[in-house]
Symmetry: C2
Subunit: 322 residues, 2 copies
């Protein structure tokens, strides 16, 4: 990661400046809430993708910085609303905005960020990018609603799970890479490949996220471990295990998934069962497949530092702890 | 109103069809929630303004229908989020979506509608309209946040109150009229006048809404009367009364405004005090001033049925019961 951060160091500094400058409103509490969440050590993975892909395509202008900020704003809006939906207490090691300012403010500031993002894009004037982003955010909210409906649904299939993570996570990764391609003015076919790269990387990212929710360390991961189980979110490690486990083990998982509150003992019980049936290993293996798919999408692009960076991002997915 | 509805009868039918067609998603619950709220007898005032202003400017195309649907979608998104924020039970005489489907679904379906609206606009390809709408929704969410911050603030000034209603209500009325002007391809100065007409009409609309929250009949008004007092919303009738009332009467108002639950006796106590100091009459008088301002904005437009309709809408504000 250090290498990537050095490669686009100047752009990342400009990005932070842009985030500060564009987060302007007369209403102080809006700025405070946005600052709190956007400066709490996010990985900036979506803006980094946008910057790297635009550079990969030979883009020489400055607009990628503003779009990178917009993508991070949209991501931040979804986090604000997610934390309300999940009643989350902790994000990136700090109290969530809903805990500090209340659910109402979190909903409204999320709305503000969505609108502000479209306002900023409309000022830039690129209709293709507005199409890409509005399509992505529509699908994203569909994904979140699907996830909500499927809460505690132990019949969730792998196919449905992939539809959910594709919509709620991968689509914004994909949009970020697509914007890089649009700015670079490359062919539609090549833009499609970048967009697919983002999609597969996004799926891998979410798979690892769902894995870390069981096997991560709270202090490193920044979120509370075990929240998916607590919230009744059925993710790939569970789906695989429920398919292969004995009736007794399946029942134990379901029982804990339906509970409103789980103890760390409950969590360990479920974790051990998943481990026993190889649910974590399976998720890891599937992640590798998507990493490979992502890498393949970059084959048509000539060698460059930016391509290397995009390739190394795929490897990082497998080793990431945060 | 009958006359206006007859004048644009065909367009209003097309609007309902467009609302149905555009409210399409594979996720059934999204369609259900949107249907529930959008077909519960809304007045379609914003789409009507868009249609009438576009016709006033001689627009002959069909795009105004789609934009009218978009404006109603955006309005619906704000209602979904508002009802979560206010924990509202009743809207237009029916249970609110948050009561029927929960806060989480309401937040996410609101997000879906915002995104879908921008997606639909990006497909139409008019950047000026996207600018107008994204600017309006940004200001709108600022207004909602301001209102939230100022809850139970008995020091709220008239100026601050007008900033809030301008942002949370008038801006979308204004945007609807501006889109009519943009579609009609009239001069910037004339577009500005339409936008101002919408703004003043919107302010009058909200003033009457705040008045009806005290003096309306529940069965006619569709909402519960007295909700502003219950939610600690300080509106013009109260602002005026607090400024003129004796210390004893002021204290009585404040006491009830701070309460979490109010009885109908509490509500009547406050209502009688406001009546005594002329707070309702004052609000009515201020509404008249804004109605007059709105009418003046139309002076530069030649005579037509559409102009008459827009003028008659201003009068209707004063007599509306719903």
């Amino acid at each position: 990661m250090e290498k990537i951060l050095t490669l686009i160091e100047k752009d990342l500094k400009r990005l932070e400046l842009a985030i500060d400058t564009l987060n302007e409103t007369k209403v102080k509490v809006i700025t405070n809430i946005i600052d709190h969440i956007i400066k709490s050590g996010g990985k900036r993975i979506r803006p980094i993708l946008l910057i790297l892909t635009s550079k990969l395509c030979g883009y020489k202008g400055k607009r990628h910085i503003k779009y990178a900020a917009v993508i991070e704003f949209i991501h931040t809006a979804t986090l604000l609303h997610d934390d309300v939906i999940d009643n989350a207490q902790l994000r990136r090691g700090s109290s969530t905005a809903n805990i500090l300012w209340g659910n109402q403010a979190s909903v409204l500031v999320g709305d503000f960020l969505y609108s502000k993002s479209f306002e900023l894009m409309s000022k830039e004037g690129n209709m293709d990018i507005i199409k890409t982003v509005s399509n992505a955010t529509t699908i994203l909210s569909e994904g979140e609603i699907l996830e909500l409906i499927k809460t505690s649904d132990t019949n969730l299939t792998e196919e449905e799970y992939f539809e959910i993570i594709n919509k709620k996570t991968a689509i914004l990764f994909s949009a970020a890479c697509e914007i890089g391609g649009i700015l670079g003015d490359i062919s539609k076919a090549k833009i499609r490949r970048l967009s697919d790269y983002g999609k597969y990387l996004g799926i891998a990212f979410q798979l690892v996220d769902d894995l870390l929710d069981y096997v991560g360390e709270k202090d490193t991961f920044g979120k509370q471990v075990g929240t998916d189980l607590k919230e009744g979110k059925v993710t790939l490690p569970l789906i695989y295990t429920l398919k292969h486990a004995s009736e007794k083990d399946s029942s134990l998982i379901k029982e804990n998934l339906y509970k409103r509150e789980i103890t760390s003992k409950d969590f360990k019980t479920v974790k051990n069962i998943v481990e026993k049936y190889g649910g974590f290993q399976y998720t890891h293996n599937v992640t590798k497949i998507y990493i490979e798919k992502a890498r393949k999408c970059l084959e048509g692009f000539g060698p460059s530092n930016y391509k290397d960076a995009l390739l190394s991002l795929t490897d990082m997915m497998l080793t990431r702890k945060v």
